[in-house]
Amino acid sequence: MSGPRLGVVVNPVAGIGGVVGLKGSDGARVQAQAHQRGAVHRSIDRTRRALSVLAAQAPTCHVVTVAGPMGEQAVPAGLSATVLGGTARRATTADDTRRACARLLDHGIDLLLFAGGDGTARDVLDVVGERCPVLGVPAGVKMHSAVFGTSPVTAGRTAAAYLVSGARLAPAEILDLDEAGVRAGVVRPRLYGALNVPVLPGVQGRKVGSSAAETADAAAIAAAVLDEMTDVEIAVLGPGTTVGAVAQRLGVTGTLTGVDAVDLGTGQLLVADAGEQELLAAVRRRRCRVLLSPLGGSGFLLGRGDQQVSAMLLREIGTDAVTVLATRSKLAALGGAPLWVDTGDAEVDSALSGMHRVLTGPGEYMIQPVLPADEAFAPQRA
């Protein structure tokens, strides 16, 4: 078999909670509840749809997957497949996903196609990292990460095009919400890292996010914001790839998921992946600016994954010292919804609220409303 090799991993319980209104599918109890409410395993069907398209467009492709509902059951007739060990259980766990990914990587694959949501993407991230390009078949409840095709069909088409002709790869942010929090009415999206995804001109992009196709935009934003910060001594860089481009331009190695502080005078990274106290120490009595970018899809600006940028820190340097950066397509994807803040301090949240100028490029801004997250926010993106 000389054709390209596609790894396939399905999370059969993905999406099972959403269709019955459970805001996610993590945890055995929720899944049991979902079954009681009559949920079906739609991720297998959706994967089969993606693979049918792939079979038509990349017939020489060879599938490597695991037995049972985690892959084998989703492979349509007509595609050759190697089936490694697996599980017959349908109530799979995160560990099952991780184990399956590891097996496929060991066997050797050119692209990993997984089906699930943000939770599944996190499990994939844990094992795969940068070892192999990845593409998601959208099948979960939460899909804020930028790895998913806009539909099962487009995921299949993109995978086929990548395997047949190749494409550039670019990092895509992996985000997830704390589902327990969501069910309790509190939203906690967080950035966990990035996976490499194929970027194909002429093929529909992914669902959301600061994806690969935007790296040049982010670079332009970074240049523009640095031009505007001539009188600033310390830049506090929040999480995400958009703000990450600023670190890149400054020539320092920032942390994608953490908060860093840079001395603009010396160009030195003062502290990487800093906690609240380190940040407070870094900014004291200096002219500071905090650069933040909303998390793709959810529009969360503060309080989710960046708790280090705390109420106390913002009181210290002033809420005016926050500059928001975002690519235009990320804002457009919010469809007019506001950006959210939740520092845990109502006074600071309220000071941060209102209309903000979001920097979207050199000399380009968008006016975007910012609101406290507790003002009736119920994310629902099944």
Binding site: D217, A220, R328, G361, E364
Partner: protein
């Protein structure tokens, strides 16, 4: 019904099918709406016009409209009734009938932004236009037309500032005042312009140009033919001068001259721009213009072009060729304010027309055309100078199509002269005395002026100035 608005007419205008009352009422009923006015509910009362527009009574009958238009336009004297020697940016060349036939086809005339499939013919015709211009210009990249030669020059110069990251522009030799006005306004946000103008007698000396070109120069701009019709600019020397300091050479050219003249790229031009009005568009009172931009196939240049580019692509059927947009992300359509300047509806049909013109003429036709124009231009210059009543400055320099005539020997003003000539049904050129400071007119002779026309002109000049 809005209470103060004019009532809707009870009969439908012939252009508006659904204004027929029965049709309209049927559609309203389908929507469960009583009156069209409900559709405007979001427009606040205070912003409504509370009276009918004050416009002339409609000429709904086509027959009446035709009578009115004929009556209005009959006050024009056409260049078929008078002998025209005006040029200065709008040139009276012959328009081959096939050009008019093609651009009058409803399929082309009324198409717009259709995609590569259903408007395949448009894409091919425009690709072929660009390709034939590329042969004439000997440059591998030519854009879909922009508005006109003014815009092409202005954009070429802004491109030069983006490519070189510099802000100085040096314009050499005679350039039309109107074009300069457009260029100054357009480059003002990013560049400063020095114009080294010249009288018609001698070109701007190279040493003089060298003094103004330096490390901050983005581009040197020169025209061929220049605004006085001269075609002796030393492009090779200018290219070397510009390239030596890292600047570009931008050349404005009328493509109709390139059957007989070397393409500017051969001498080292980096961006070539101009107007395609000469190529079968006709005059239309100065309304028929299209601009072109040409560069070498170098991404540093190509990615700075604002206009659309159509490239060849294979299709799913073996042996079939299609066309698609190249590097679309450059454009404002894809990237709004991040694009290069902007691209909008400009002059595509004129591009198709110019393509037909070049296909009809071929290499031989373009060469013969150029020869005829040079011959008649110099015949006119020599016979006019021969009257002794006027001077032809720069008569020893090679000219193409246009030349300056100085009325000093006659003591007459240009305005008087043109008026007297017009009484003889001759439009004897364009008054340039305001910009030249002398009583001068700019005359234009093309392939449509035969020897007898020029003799008629000369005879009239003798009568008027004697």
């Amino acid at each position: 019904m809005h209470e103060n608005a004019s009532p809707s007419p009870t009969t439908a205008h012939p252009y508006i099918p659904n204004a027929a009352p029965q049709v309209r009422d049927g559609m309203l009923a389908e929507l469960g709406v009583n009156s069209v006015d409900e559709f405007f509910a979001d427009i606040p009362e205070a912003l409504r016009l509370t009276r009918p527009l004050d416009l002339p009574a409609p000429l709904t009958s086509e027959a009446e409209l035709v009578r009115h238009m004929e009556s209005l336009l009959s006050a024009n004297v056409t260049t078929r009734q008078a002998l025209n020697f005006c040029g200065a940016g709008c040139y009276q060349h012959h328009v081959p009938v096939v050009c008019s036939e093609v651009n009058g086809r409803a399929e082309f005339l009324t198409a717009y932004a259709g995609e590569t499939y259903e408007d395949h013919g448009k894409f091919q015709a425009l690709f072929e236009y660009a390709s034939m211009m590329a042969e004439l210009l000997e440059m591998d990249v030519v854009t879909i037309p922009t508005y006109d030669g003014f815009q092409a020059a202005a954009t070429a110069l802004r491109m030069a500032t983006r490519i070189t990251h510099r802000s100085g522009l040096v314009v050499v030799g005679p350039v039309g005042q109107d074009k300069l006005s457009k260029v100054y306004d357009y480059v003002a946000p990013v560049a400063t312009v020095e114009h080294l103008s010249a009288d018609p007698v001698v070109p701007v000396p190279l040493a003089e140009i060298a003094r103004h070109v330096g490390e901050d120069t983005a581009a040197v701009y020169v025209e061929l033919p220049d605004a006085h019709g001269c075609v002796d600019a030393d492009l090779g020397a200018l290219a070397a001068l510009a390239h030596n300091v890292g600047a570009l050479l931008v050349v404005g050219v009328d493509p109709i001259a390139l059957g007989v003249l070397d393409p500017p790229s051969a001498a080292g031009a980096d961006i070539v721009c101009g107007d395609i009005q000469s190529l079968g568009l006709g005059m239309q009172a100065g309304g028929a213009h299209g601009g072109f931009l040409a560069v070498h196939d170098d991404p540093r240049f190509v990615l700075e072009l604002p206009s659309r580019l159509f490239g060849l692509t294979p299709t799913g059927k073996p042996g079939e060729i299609g066309f698609r947009d190249v590097a679309y992300e450059r454009t404002s359509l894809a990237a709004r304010e991040n694009g290069n300047e902007w691209v909008g509806t400009a002059a595509a049909l004129w591009g198709i027309t110019a393509g037909v013109y070049l296909a009809l003429h071929g290499p031989q036709g373009m060469a013969e055309l150029g020869d005829t124009i040079i011959d008649r231009t110099h015949y006119a210059m020599q016979t006019l100078a021969g009257t002794g009543l006027v001077e032809v400055p720069g008569i020893d320099r090679p000219h193409f199509r246009e030349f300056v005539v100085d009325l000093a020997p006659s003591g007459r003003t240009a305005a008087d002269f043109l008026k007297a000539m017009a009484q003889r049904r001759i439009f004897a050129g364009v008054d340039i005395s305001a910009e030249s400071g002398s009583q001068q007119v700019l005359l234009c002779t093309t392939e449509v002026h035969n020897q007898r026309d020029i003799d008629t002109l000369v005879a009239a000049v003798k009568e008027v100035l004697a």
